[in-house]
Amino acid sequence: MAIRDVTLAGLSRETLLDFYFKMWLIRRFEEKAAEGYTLGKIGGFLHLYIGQEAVATGLISQLRNDDVVISSYREHGHALVKGVDPNKVMAELHGKATGVSKGKGGSMHIYSAEHNLLGGYAIVAAQLPIACGYGLAANHQHLDYVTMCFFGDGAVDEGAFHESLNLAELWSLPVIFVCENNLYSMGNSLEKAWSVNSLEPRAAAYGMAYEKVDGMEIINVHEAGQRAIERARAGKPTLLEVITYRFRGHSMADPGAYRPKEEVERWRSQRDPILLLAAKLREQGIATEQELQQLEDRASGIAEAASQFADASPFPTMDDLVADVMIDPTGAIAWRHQH
């Protein structure tokens, strides 16, 4: 089949193949992480992004480096697309000193100042007020970076969501609120949590621009993101509701008994965002089978290398235990006995 340098929905072949590669990178990375967890190399909570790859990829790929991304504990994918070194993310999961947060944050607390990937937060919805703060600072400093804030469908039931949306609209903060609606918050399904089956009225309550998008179709995600980013650069927030699905349990500790097997199977076989994009690329003759395979293999190689890097890295030291509590070392400990 001849490769055509066509565009799809205005996206170049290069961009489309980049999307394809990044989604595989996330998936292979997460599979490696799952392996590390099973082997006991990764401890604590491990929340995988498998199934949701099109959301981070479609949205974050179009951000500038100075644009801020802030997320929940399910943030490995966001970090990888923002450009954070997979080795350092994996090392963080392994609790190694070479991790982005020196092994002191773990899977839920990825942060990279140089990429403006400014944190995984593990208190549900706590990142929304903080995102407002970045928006406020951007306005004050007359900087035109936007802040993209990711959270789940569970987060919108917290008070922080409402306080933040109201403030963002009221103060015209350049923040994009992205609800990755994967239909479950841990074991609780949407029907048991939301009194109305859409975020549209909640956005309307604050007069905020709102868009709902199919999170498995990366091109749709990308387009909605483009509109939201434009709005944010012009000083207006948006609430994006992205419908998606996690293919694994809430965390590695979750066998997922609350979801019917057929439901999970249906999403996996019919709505896998990577397979959906692959089908389009083939249909349109944008990429050959061989090319697609090469991109997937490249992703596998990077994930494998990250895992090896993490394995080979040292653990933090006892000095690291007490370092970096505060800027002021005299303030870090209530009182240090010196007599």
């Binding site: 801020v68 991790g99 982005v100 947060s101 020196k102 092994g103 002191k104 944050g105 607390h109 942060y111 990279s112 100042a113 400014l118 944190g119 937060y121 208190i123 706590a126 929304l128 007020p129 903080i130 995102a131 407002c132 703060g133 970045y134 928006g135 406020l136 600072a137 951007a138 004050h140 400093q141 008070g159 922080a160 306080e163 933040s164 109201n166 403030l167 009221l170 103060w171 370092a323 970096d324 509590v325 505060m326 800027i327 002021d328 005299t330 303030g331 870090a332 400990i333 209530a334 009182w335 006995h337 007599h339």
Partner: protein
């Protein structure tokens, strides 16, 4: 308050605690354009306790912002703005309402530097009035500094005088870390000597101060109780007991050396605080003094605190719920029995 040289003393004037705080904010806002002030009713209303009065007119409503009634996003946005390079001063209407923002204080402000491996920090001041004694009832009379002082990653300070209020607030705004700045609702109108506006001074956030020297017993205290202890010391002096009033002023980190040096001299200690007695700040201080200063002590440390009840409304029982001068005097007599006998 023996910190000033003669030149400075000549230009001292007496102003209120409230005015001292306002001056600190004005001076710091003039000095540093990154300083912004946000909170409920700080502009149009003039500030719940009138601390922020006039700031919006002077510095503009971009830098002095009334917020909706939304404590979590006030503090959360202030944390984010601080991480993003501003120097926010967030005012919470009272400490009682800080509980709605406590997640952002404890789980965000105190944690991000550490859990992100030192890549960020939070130069933020959260001002909040606390304390009881004005018949405001159980939900508006609390002193909850120990809840926050328990948490590594933030500083907690409680100035008692206008001089300290101004000097410590200026230090707090310049500090690179998060400072919970706890004011006392009954101190706003209290006057004290403060150098003239524009005469630059700061008070460090890790040092207490001896507010009155004495050789017989150390009254270890902070915030409004400093004044009550000074009154008690005055009375005790009439019977020949010289009480040393140790204003701890910084709760976290704590200047324990100051208290240890004081008890090394007096060999007796009474801890006085307004908050509840158990699991609180005073017990923490007493425990530290026992642990590191046991050999200095000739008698067990006394401890006077708020009565263990939600604060009542009705005047005379509310008064009984907080330590007073006579209670302190009685406690001192108990700790120094030989003196009473004399």
């Amino acid at each position: 308050m023996a910190r000033l040289n003669e030149d400075e003393q000549q230009i001292m004037r007496s102003i209120t605690y409230r005015e001292a705080l306002r001056e600190a904010m004005r001076e710091e806002m003039s000095r540093d354009s990154r300083v912004i002030v946000i909170g409920e009713d700080i502009d149009a209303y003039g500030g719940t306790y009138a601390v922020t009065k006039g700031l919006a007119e002077e510095f503009g409503r971009e830098r002095v912002r009334d917020t909706p009634l939304a404590e979590e996003v006030i503090v959360g946005a202030a944390v984010g703005a601080a991480m993003a390079g501003l120097r926010p001063v967030a005012e919470l209407m009272t400490m009682n309402f800080s509980l709605l923002a406590s997640d952002q204080i404890v789980n965000t402000a105190a944690k991000v530097r550490y859990m992100f491996g030192g890549q960020t920090h939070v130069p933020l001041v959260i001002r909040m009035p606390a304390g009881g004694g004005a018949q405001r009832g159980a939900q508006h009379s609390q002193t909850l500094e120990s809840w926050y002082a328990h948490v590594p990653g933030i500083k907690v300070v409680m100035p008692a005088t206008p001089y300290d209020a101004k000097g410590m607030l200026k230090s707090a705004i310049r500090d690179e870390d998060t400072v919970l700045f706890i004011e006392h609702e009954l101190l706003y109108g209290v006057k004290g000597d403060v150098p003239d506006e524009g005469v630059e001074y700061t008070v460090p956030l890790n040092r207490g101060e001896i507010k009155r020297e004495g050789r017989d017993i150390s009254l270890i205290t902070f915030s409004r109780m400093v004044h009550i202890c000074l009154q008690a010391a005055e009375e005790l002096a009439k019977e020949g007991i010289e009480a040393e009033v140790v204003d701890m002023r910084c709760i976290r980190p704590i200047d324990l050396d100051l208290a240890l040096d004081s008890i090394a001299k007096t060999n007796h200690a009474l801890v006085v605080e307004e908050g509840w007695k158990y699991y609180g700040t005073g017990q923490g201080m007493a425990a530290m003094l026992y642990e590191y200063g046991f050999d200095s002590l000739d008698a067990p440390i006394g401890h006077i605190a708020g009565v263990d009840v939600p604060t009542p409304y009705s005047k005379h029982i509310e008064r009984a719920a907080f330590p007073n001068r006579d209670e302190i005097i009685t406690a001192v007599h108990k700790i120094l029995p030989q003196r009473v006998a004399r």
